[in-house]
Symmetry: C3
Amino acid sequence: MRHLIDFGDMTREEWDALSARTGAILDRPEDFLEVCRGKVCASLFYEPSTRTNFSFQTAMLRLGGTVFGFADPKSSSMAKGESLKDTVKMVSSYADVIVMRTPWEGAAKAASLYSHVPVINAGDGGHMHPTQTIADLTTMERLRGGVDGLTIGVCGDLKNGRTVHSLIKAMEKFRGVRFYLISPRELALPEYMKAFLRQQRIPHLEVTGLEAVIPQLDVLYMTRIQRERFVDPLEYERCRGVYILTRDKLRRAKENLLVMHPLPRVDEIHVDVDDDPRAVYFQQARYGMFARMALLSDLANQPRWDRTEPVEIGSAPVCHNPNCITQTEWYLPPLTRRLEGKTCCAFCDKELT
Amino acid sequence: MRHLIDFGDMTREEWDALSARTGAILDRPEDFLEVCRGKVCASLFYEPSTRTNFSFQTAMLRLGGTVFGFADPKSSSMAKGESLKDTVKMVSSYADVIVMRTPWEGAAKAASLYSHVPVINAGDGGHMHPTQTIADLTTMERLRGGVDGLTIGVCGDLKNGRTVHSLIKAMEKFRGVRFYLISPRELALPEYMKAFLRQQRIPHLEVTGLEAVIPQLDVLYMTRIQRERFVDPLEYERCRGVYILTRDKLRRAKENLLVMHPLPRVDEIHVDVDDDPRAVYFQQARYGMFARMALLSDLANQPRWDRTEPVEIGSAPVCHNPNCITQTEWYLPPLTRRLEGKTCCAFCDKELT
Amino acid sequence: MRHLIDFGDMTREEWDALSARTGAILDRPEDFLEVCRGKVCASLFYEPSTRTNFSFQTAMLRLGGTVFGFADPKSSSMAKGESLKDTVKMVSSYADVIVMRTPWEGAAKAASLYSHVPVINAGDGGHMHPTQTIADLTTMERLRGGVDGLTIGVCGDLKNGRTVHSLIKAMEKFRGVRFYLISPRELALPEYMKAFLRQQRIPHLEVTGLEAVIPQLDVLYMTRIQRERFVDPLEYERCRGVYILTRDKLRRAKENLLVMHPLPRVDEIHVDVDDDPRAVYFQQARYGMFARMALLSDLANQPRWDRTEPVEIGSAPVCHNPNCITQTEWYLPPLTRRLEGKTCCAFCDKELT
């Protein structure tokens, strides 16, 4: 059974196939109206994420499939008391595919061990959100003809931004990409991410100003800077204007620049940018829906596994990450995997110590 | 792009076309099972309104379309933080039509400026609720063969009743209608509504008793009297029995009278009236669903606007209505319109001062 | 109009027909993809019950039907203020079938008096939950070829378990069944249920240990023992291990035993049992969905009753059960019925005193 837990699990060939399928849907959506006919998607949102939820729901509906589930754990009796395993066993008795969002790292991976149907990770805490990356890459492919060779500026909170980290990691599949890392020093890209860029020989330059580098960029990927991230509030006030994109700052940008944003924005992109044809952040949301259609049409049509493999029963977590799913689901097997030469938890990917 | 924001925006010809389409659906619902196939409706209820919500949802489903959205702002991450513009941009990236209920006056109008798809106003605060009026008129058309020439008694709280005001205003499109305005003096129709009736030369008579006028009526439109509306609680107690409809009071009514109510009722219509064939308030709910099917089948099949027009960016509200959408969405353009010789806010229709 | 309020209302012939239809769906689900096309199901959950709710929703969707409703009373404006009658009148104006879960005993019966469409009881307080029983019986039929002649152990809290009581009562329709009643003395089957077994001449034996009787069983139906049910907490601690099913205790069981559970479980079945082929509690959930498909495909395709029969108007409850729906819905008729020689409330079945 193929699931989608981590974008990194996908090969370049698999990505190209998915991207081609997205293109086919965009070109002739009417050919796909029945692709998931009779298929039912469970949408399990253990934390609210209206945007991702709506995108998956409409993707499934546009393929002729249907959706049930919950948007908020509080309205579900499943959130309390029942183990994740039992919930997944039950839901996969009813559904043909599971889309799952949780605050716990590794939860989608854990679910995939017990599910009779494919599991799609719609975000597992601070860990992974592969379909956001897929939406981002699809936008670049469709509007720039491909990702290879692009010069990408990532701007804002590069220290904490999961979206940016995933996008950078995805570049191991592409060629000739270069990065401008635009952030205040306090919110610079973490060392392990820079090590990744060096190891992959991806050219990159750290800068603290946005305006000077704008003319070089093919893509400007904006993210939010949260006041709470700053130790010194004065530093925040000093910084904020620098990283707000305005129509004025766009003057010297390339004519075919793509201004992207994972949304929601607060004020890091001024509304006067919205009507500029280079502002593609709302189109990016729409491409995300089409990419999710491609994904669902592929995964949801696998044959159901009526018998799942027996899974080893654990007794206590081997991982020390307090947000890891193994902390609360004691029966999970003590799986590990090798990542960049280190032994890591196979659920949350944190190094075992 | 045609939206439905205000019933007053519709011409008599447009109403007749909508009404004819409703009739066609009622006569042969099986012909409409696929009319919205492949179309997805966003149902955005920023305040709970189960009845209206269910009516729109089932209307869309009966046309072969599908629905997503939220029924309660608290379960949506969209309610907090994000601007209405960004929400609409995002949702209209996923949907083919938006049905929207908000506590803010003018919100549906504001949404229509930014949407890539048609917007239907399902109630914007105390301002407009056009599909309730459509449901009311459809009931009269279907059960009495037309609205022209009817004698209509409106009974209850005529001062605050949005439903009644909308119904009266709708009569500018019809001929030969006359009104009995039945209410306690404290809850009489406001002066500006009476001015409207005079200006339109619609005959009307204010009375404080229900029983005496019942024999004249073709339609009796009941509404709720809320205790809180009375300054003097004793006055409320004295009044209440007068405006409660009972089987007994119906004795002298015409045989083809229509007893209507926008629902929910509390006790202003006694349950002993329910089995009288003249009690059509539950049928009225069903006609509302069919009228919404007619509306959706028309609006949702318009081609999508991938590029919307640039919209002027405002900087501060010009309107002083504290419930107007312009109070919280600062970027809305300072639009005005002329209404009955006055300059009004183009969102909430309140006079600018 | 045929409803499903109480499993006891169904004849053996009706059960056999339903069971045959379930079998047909299981064998050729593709033949049923359109059986409820164009039909809309209202799913009214006045208390959360995610499992039952999901099962009904997916059943309807797999028949080509659609679903609307609420999963939680708090997000519905219907929960407050409006009478059950008015809610049912309104919802049955929009829907083709109503699935209803409430904390009030007799509510589904009450709804059926006013509905224009069939009502299915998805649980009415401590009273009835007929589709759980249907799911249980379907599991036995499909996996053991029939219910007649089975030796069934029911284990856990036999005093309070509604599921177990319903299953036992259902046995009046079958032949040759025998029961082992396995529970601590404090939680033994109530006297009136034992009277029922005697009257039906169903052989049964009360035991306090699980291990000794396991080898005799064709079906072991496990239920949860709640700590709160014990007067003496020490007694609870002493008891608990006895009634926990483990792989070890299963060693001497028959090879074709069925281990069943209504779910959710807490710890009464150890996870090391899950991979044993005799553990069928997750399959039981899936059979429940197919049985609900059979039920919906039958009931939802009845012609709508546009006119309902006039219903007598009551004035005060004749029943003294504080959880009976007649306590809050004063207008309900004072209906009674004869049950085992006693005059009972026709809504909640409690004896009138």
